[in-house]
């Protein structure tokens, strides 16, 4: 794991994200703050502690090639349902050097555990990842 936890404050919100698997799939309803979190991580990655964060979204150029060049990174992919093809999913499965947080609903072709499925939960401005109840 690159990061077991990511903690930061972004007033009025306080984020405490704990990861249980090398691949985390963040799903749930629309408008729960996934893209907002992605935008916060764009700032957070400028800190030395979080330099391993690597971000991809639908605006990323040459996504597939750049994904495969990553080593020892905490890779966050917004719009992952649009971006990931079968080859990318296979790469993620066999890639042990990187950790992934995917904002995606489609888990087809990914090797996941029950700890992979998470929902972004906000209560009283405290944001965390909660396990999604799924059958694996």
């Amino acid at each position: 794991m690159i990061y077991n936890t990511i903690n930061f404050n972004a007033a009025p919100f306080s984020y405490s994200l704990e990861f249980a698997d090398r691949i985390t799939l963040v799903r749930g309803d629309s408008a729960t703050g996934k893209t907002y979190l992605y935008q916060m991580l764009e700032d957070l990655k400028l800190l030395e502690e979080y330099q391993a964060i690597k971000l991809f979204n639908y605006k990323t150029e040459e996504f597939h090639d750049n994904l495969k060049k990553c080593r020892d990174k905490f890779i966050v992919i917004d719009n992952a349902d649009l971006l990931l093809d079968n080859e990318d999913r296979s790469f993620i499965n066999f890639d042990s050097s990187n950790q992934y947080m995917l904002f995606a609903r489609n888990c087809d072709g990914l090797n996941l555990s029950s700890g992979s499925f998470m929902l972004l939960h906000e209560n009283d401005y405290k944001v965390s990842l909660e396990r999604e109840l799924v059958t694996v």
Binding site: G28, S30, A31, T35, Y58, N79, D81, L82, R105, D108
Partner: protein, 150 residues
């Protein structure tokens, strides 16, 4: 009738990237009271006259709406286009499946509350009714994909 397509087509009549399409095109259109209500329902965002929004995340523009909200607005503002619904959560899909005469692209089933009298046409071929018809169609589709090793 709701028209569902499960195989991707690169066509000008299709909206595959909802954020991109909304930011460049749909956001420039006028928004009605009905749109404002939907924006509030999904994003809890208050839309101002100048297309700024107020949410719990702060002030922004209409381009800061969620992807799900942008998807539903793309559907409403672009009748006749097939809109990608793969990024939508259940809260948005429930609303989409209560509409009529819309066309969506979906690559996999999602849990959706579908009324029993809703007619769904898959790929311009199969017409099913209600949630049972929807689930039955996807079960058969997954059997077909397994047989074809997809």
């Amino acid at each position: 009738m709701i028209y569902l397509y499960t195989n991707k087509q690169d066509s000008g009549k299709w909206i595959l990237q909802n954020d991109w399409y909304f930011n460049l095109y749909t956001s420039n259109e006028g928004f009605t009271e009905e749109d404002e209500k939907l924006i509030w329902q999904i994003d809890h965002a208050k839309l101002n006259r100048d297309k700024h929004i107020e949410t719990k995340y702060g002030l922004g523009t209409i381009r800061n709406l969620s992807s799900g909200c942008k998807t539903i607005l793309n559907v409403m503002k672009n009748p006749g286009k097939v809109v990608n619904a793969d990024e939508c959560g259940q809260n948005v899909l429930d609303i989409l499946f209560s509409m009529k005469g819309i066309s969506l692209y979906m690559t996999r089933p999602e849990r959706i509350h579908i009324k029993e009298d809703v007619e769904i046409c898959f790929n311009d071929v199969d017409i099913v009714v209600g949630s049972k018809g929807y689930e039955h169609w996807w079960s058969r589709e997954y059997e077909r994909r397994n047989m074809d090793d997809l």
